[in-house]
């Protein structure tokens, strides 16, 4: 059995930025009280590590064949022998590799319940799997946890942010649009076209396109490489982005309007999240780059919202819930 005061291992496998960024938010809130390790296969892990060198990251090659990736993941989980295993989004693991490890580990098991495709939930009978394998189900933001929110082990926190929201700080009197690209390289061209459309519509606009590589069509002087992109949101009058977990909640926390282009994902329902943001009155949905550019320039003339409900960083609350669960008597563990 893992000793008390032992390692918290965050399983954050998955493409793009989202899983790793959410894990980093939790880790930052937990350090230095707890020992944290993040298991990731994000292609952007090295960039995150250079921004947060204090994090203990185990980086798997994202190009590993499926079978090798599953075996390597299991090996890392078993070698860590964590006091607490925190699984982001995928209860059975992204490759379905975790069930045996979950059953064998004496650790406290926590699921971070981001939105999950209900078809997958039903096909894999995940509701009963989660009920019998996890001690705590953390829902990082109301609306994320549609599949398992009814479980006794479920608890909702405010969204987890890798940076606490900063006060608005617009540079000079110039209007600024931040274009935040998604993690999928195939989608970069869309953002490049959005930038060039913005420049055509309003040549005097300050445009800041934050991306790991310069998108095709994006002028060199508009491109910056920076993580986390949310550092730039407090300087923006509008953000053009996708509708993934981080950009949606970060824009809400920074009180900046989001022009959202939801992208199809295998497990995440970005359209649902974008619609919730619309209902809250601070986002618009677009499909084409030109629609995004027009919506952003409109935003300069007519702000959607002047003052919204303040969102705090929910990561500290999540850490407190995990600590409480670890120190609670074993009788509260799920039936196996």
């Amino acid at each position: 059995m893992a000793a008390r005061g032992g390692l918290w291992l965050i399983y954050a496998l998955g493409g793009g930025w989202g899983h790793l960024t959410r894990a980093a938010a939790l880790a930052l809130a937990s350090l230095p009280r707890n020992r944290i390790r993040i298991l990731t296969n994000s292609p952007y892990a090295a960039r995150v590590h250079s921004a947060l060198p204090q994090l203990d990251l185990v980086i798997l090659d994202p190009s590993l064949p499926l079978k090798t990736a599953r075996h390597e993941t299991i090996r890392q989980v078993e070698a860590a022998n964590p006091e607490c295993l925190i699984v982001d989004t995928f209860p059975r693991g992204l490759g379905g590799e975790l069930p045996q490890s979950l059953a064998a580990l004496a650790a406290t098991k926590v699921l971070v319940h981001r939105d999950l495709n209900p078809e997958y939930v039903a096909e894999s009978n995940l509701h009963s799997f989660v009920a019998s394998n996890f001690d705590l189900v953390l829902i990082p933001g109301e609306g994320e946890g549609a599949a398992f929110h009814d479980l006794p082990a479920a608890a909702i926190t405010e969204p987890w942010l890798v940076r606490d929201p900063q006060p608005r700080a617009r540079p000079g009197g110039t209007s600024r649009v931040v274009v935040c690209t998604s993690g999928n390289p195939d989608e970069l061209a869309w953002y490049g076209q959005a930038v060039s459309s913005l420049r055509t519509l309003d040549p005097g606009l300050d445009i800041c396109c934050v991306a790991p590589a310069r998108p095709p069509g994006c002028p060199e002087d508009c491109w910056v490489e920076h993580w986390p992109a949310s550092d730039l949101y407090s300087t923006a009058d509008a953000v053009i982005g996708g509708a993934g977990y981080n950009v949606i909640h970060e824009c809400a926390a920074c009180q900046v309007s989001l022009i959202a282009r939801p992208w199809p994902r295998k497990y995440d329902r970005q359209w649902m999240r974008a619609r919730r943001a619309i209902n809250n009155g601070w986002a618009r949905i677009v499909e084409t780059p030109m629609e995004a550019a027009i919506a952003a320039t409109d935003q300069m003339k007519q702000p959607l919202i002047h003052e919204r409900v303040k969102i705090r960083n929910g990561a500290s609350g999540a850490v407190a819930l995990i600590e409480r669960k670890i120190s609670s008597p074993p009788a509260t563990s799920p039936a196996r």
């Binding site: 496998l13 998955g14 493409g15 793009g16 989202g18 899983h19 296969n41 292609p43 994202p62 590993l64 499926l66 079978k67 990736a69 599953r70 075996h71 299991i74 059975r92 693991g93 992204l94 490759g95 379905g96 590799e97 069930p99 045996q100 078809e119 997958y120 096909e123 894999s124 993690g183 993934g244 994902r265 295998k266 497990y267 995440d268």
Partner: protein, 92 residues
């Protein structure tokens, strides 16, 4: 063998047989925890109907092939195409 490598050899389904896509026979209500060899053929909830995987029609002249008969290919089409999950370590 790890559960993720498991490939169930059994047939499941009610009207048409299809591959069982479960990760393990443990807890499977179709094969009753692996006790049935062919859950499709051994179903007991079809009342008096039998021969569910026999698609040959019975005409006036007896059993023969009728071009309007259902075939196994029709069965394949009626089974919902299964989206693959847990097969891409770069998904989100």
């Amino acid at each position: 063998m790890s559960p993720s490598d498991f490939k169930c050899p059994r047939r499941a389904g009610f009207l048409f047989p299809h591959e069982c896509d479960r990760q393990s026979p443990i807890g499977c209500t179709d094969c009753d925890n692996g006790q049935m060899n062919d859950p499709f053929a051994q179903r007991t909830d079809r009342y008096n109907y039998t021969g569910y995987d026999n698609y040959a029609g019975v005409g006036l002249a007896g059993l023969h092939h009728n071009p309007n008969d259902f075939t196994e290919a029709d069965g394949e089409k009626l089974v919902r195409s299964k989206k693959q999950y847990e097969d891409d370590m770069t998904a989100s």
